[in-house]
């Protein structure tokens, strides 16, 4: 049996080899204005932010009749799976490849292979350390982290003890936000960083970590968080523990905004927008049609201080809604309760 299976494998290898040798393709790609096939390699689909990212992508696709087909893959946060997904998308003959990297440093060969085929390769929500991409389209993550830090310092009057809560350890988009913030805090001797923890953008884990912060530190004057997914559970935990609520930062999660308004506690919101997928698609389509686009395209969404948050919040919507990212036809909006 083993010999037969082994023979079968060797036969398959040889067949694939012969077929491959006959099927090599060139890297010359002509601009296209119609019948465009788009591939979107997504890092994962584990939270409502990712669902809004896809919703905005789908809504933008619908605005472009020149797109004939879209293929979407989910890497489950695994770089090796993402490399395989990228290969699968190339096999399907996509004219444009949009990649949300799981771990940018660990998909470099796959991205370079895609770029070598001649199609535009657009990166969003993370970086891939190679020059062999068409463009990065999105927000300046380091600047975003710095903005959160500056706003928190401002709300705290440049003095006090803070805790820092980040998303997924090791992800470039997370580390850059953290780095931007730390550089700002270093300029203010009155600010003391008590602790920094990663929560994986998990609400239960955010609560658990805040509980341990509360046990360890009798005085916490501010919360720097890189997302509302962190500051929201952190503030809830503080309230449950009977501790005074403190200034915080985060992005445009409705639950976070609702909590700030309902409890009249100051906060600062700067969206990390799910419109990045729409921006990436728009820029990618320009490249497919033959336009030259810049290598780095940063977009700056609107920012919200506490007064603006009061106007902006939607008390009737789900906690997991992403404010401002819902300006798309209802049919594309995620079903979130």
């Amino acid at each position: 049996m083993k010999k037969r299976v082994l023979s079968l494998i060797i036969l398959m290898v040889l067949s694939v080899s012969v077929a491959f040798a006959a099927g090599q393709q060139g890297a010359e790609v002509q601009p296209k204005t119609e019948d465009i096939v788009v591939g979107f390699s997504c890092a994962g689909m584990g939270n409502s932010w990712r669902m809004f990212l896809k919703a905005n992508f789908d809504a933008t696709v619908a605005e472009h009749p020149e797109i004939s087909k879209v293929y979407f893959t989910n890497a489950d946060e695994k770089p090796e799976k993402q490399a395989a997904d990228i290969s699968d998308l190339l096999t399907k003959g996509v004219d444009l490849l949009i990649i949300q990297p799981s771990i940018g440093a660990a998909i470099v060969p796959a991205v370079e292979e895609a770029y070598a085929t001649g199609i535009p390769v657009i990166i969003l929500d993370g970086t891939v350390p190679t020059d062999n991409i068409t463009a990065y389209v999105g927000q300046d993550m380091k600047k975003l982290g710095a903005h959160y830090a500056e706003a928190l310092v401002d709300m705290m009057g440049e003095t006090g003890k803070i805790v820092m809560m980040s998303g997924i350890a090791g992800q470039m988009s997370v580390e850059l936000r953290l780095e931007g913030a730390q550089e700002v805090f270093a300029k203010y001797p009155g600010i003391e960083i008590l602790d920094t923890q990663y929560t994986g953008w998990s609400i239960p884990k955010g609560k658990e970590i805040m509980q341990s912060f509360l046990q360890a530190y009798p005085q916490i004057d501010g919360i720097w968080a890189d997302s509302g997914l962190m500051s929201f559970p952190a503030l809830e935990t503080m309230k449950e523990a009977g501790r005074p609520l403190v200034p915080s930062t985060g992005d445009h999660l409705n639950g976070y905004a609702k909590f700030l308004v309902a409890n009249n506690v100051p906060g600062y919101i700067e969206p990390y927008s799910t419109l990045q997928a729409a921006w990436a698609l728009e820029e990618g389509l320009k490249a497919v049609k033959g336009e030259t686009i810049p290598k780095t395209i940063y977009k700056d969404p609107e920012t919200y201080d506490f007064e603006r948050i009061k106007e902006f919040v939607d008390m009737g919507k789900s906690d997991w809604w992403w404010l401002g990212d819902d300006q798309i036809p209802a049919e594309f909006l995620p079903k979130i309760d």
Partner: protein, 321 residues
């Protein structure tokens, strides 16, 4: 060898035996994929699915299989892969002149050391293997984050050639896998170590009174497993071109899933490496097919879970019979 007759091959009772059932499923999946998607049989896709994409998981699954056959389990594989891929990238970053051979050797030694730690806790200290290897996993994560919080890229082309270089259209990584597989198959099927491993995994008490050095065999399984995880990490560093604290995430469960689908018993003492490799191919073809057919990612997660449940239920029923 009596099972190799034509009569037995087409005998449904033979086909549903663990280790063979996996090939039946694989053939059905191959036919279904070929019929459903015209892209499946393209040369590029076949090369990816059979010759490149499965290699890392296949070698890591061999590691998990050896440990499972010995009657234990290894929950530290994901962290070990993360550590060793990060280490490879870090070594090339910090010591630019370092040779790929030295990096590979250091990774191999690290893998064996991790295996020794797992073995020491699970076999010598008799901490339940699940908990002992989870503890190792946590310890390794701590080491990685102490070293770096960021992913490290920039593994040079001299190291990346393993995953990218081809001979006559065949990626050399496939030969890398084939050599490792043949050595392991010989070790398990033709060497005394293999007999001792299966006997120990089946019933370590009986194996012990039969004169088999049970503790040594279980320890050797972890050491061998550690070395195989290192070999998987060498390939993965080459394929990914970098490493980071989470690059191996999911590998502990994927290796167990592939091994179980392939007929390796969770109770130990049963199953063949070939079957486990079949399990890896099933997972790869499943993922590739789902991508080619543009199946909703949420449904993909659900179906993957269903496959594992069905495989475990099937083999549990077989065991009870």
């Amino acid at each position: 060898m009596k099972n190799l007759s034509v009569k037995n091959i087409i005998n449904p009772k033979e086909l549903v035996k663990p280790g063979k059932f996996v090939w039946l499923i694989l053939i059905v999946m191959l036919i279904a994929s070929s019929v459903s998607s015209p892209i499946f049989l393209t040369s590029r896709n076949l090369r990816n699915v059979f010759l490149i994409q499965p290699i890392g998981l296949a070698i890591a699954t061999m590691a998990q299989s050896v440990v499972m056959i010995s009657g234990n389990i290894d929950m530290s594989i994901a962290s070990a892969v993360s550590l060793m891929t990060t280490m490879a990238a870090g070594l090339f970053r910090d010591i630019p002149d370092i040779s790929p051979f030295t990096v590979s050797l250091l990774l191999l030694l690290t893998g064996i050391a991790i295996g020794a730690l797992n073995g020491f806790m699970a076999v010598i200290l008799r901490i339940p293997a699940f908990m002992a290897t989870l503890a190792t996993s946590s310890l390794l994560q701590g080491v990685i984050f102490f070293y770096t919080k960021r992913p490290i890229g920039g593994i040079p082309k001299s190291f990346r050639f393993l995953a990218s270089y081809k001979v006559a259209g065949i990626p050399i990584c496939f030969f890398y896998f084939l050599i490792i597989f043949l050595v392991m198959a010989a070790l398990l099927n033709r060497h005394r170590f293999g007999n001792h491993l299966y006997a120990t995994g089946s019933d370590d008490y009986i194996a012990g009174i039969s004169g088999i050095p049970v503790v040594r065999v279980k320890m050797q399984a972890y050491l061998l497993g550690g070395a195989l995880v290192a070999l998987a990490s060498i390939f993965l560093s080459s394929r990914m071109g970098g490493g980071g604290p989470t690059t191996g995430d999911g590998y502990e469960l994927d290796t167990i899933t592939a091994a179980v689908i392939g007929g390796i018993s969770l109770a130990g003492g049963e199953g063949k490496l070939m079957g486990a490799i079949g399990g890896v191919f099933i997972l790869m073809i499943f993922s590739n097919f789902m991508n080619l057919m543009d199946i909703n990612p949420y449904i993909q997660m659900f179906l993957k879970g269903m496959i594992l449940i069905l495989a475990v239920a099937f083999y549990a029923k077989k065991d009870s019979e």
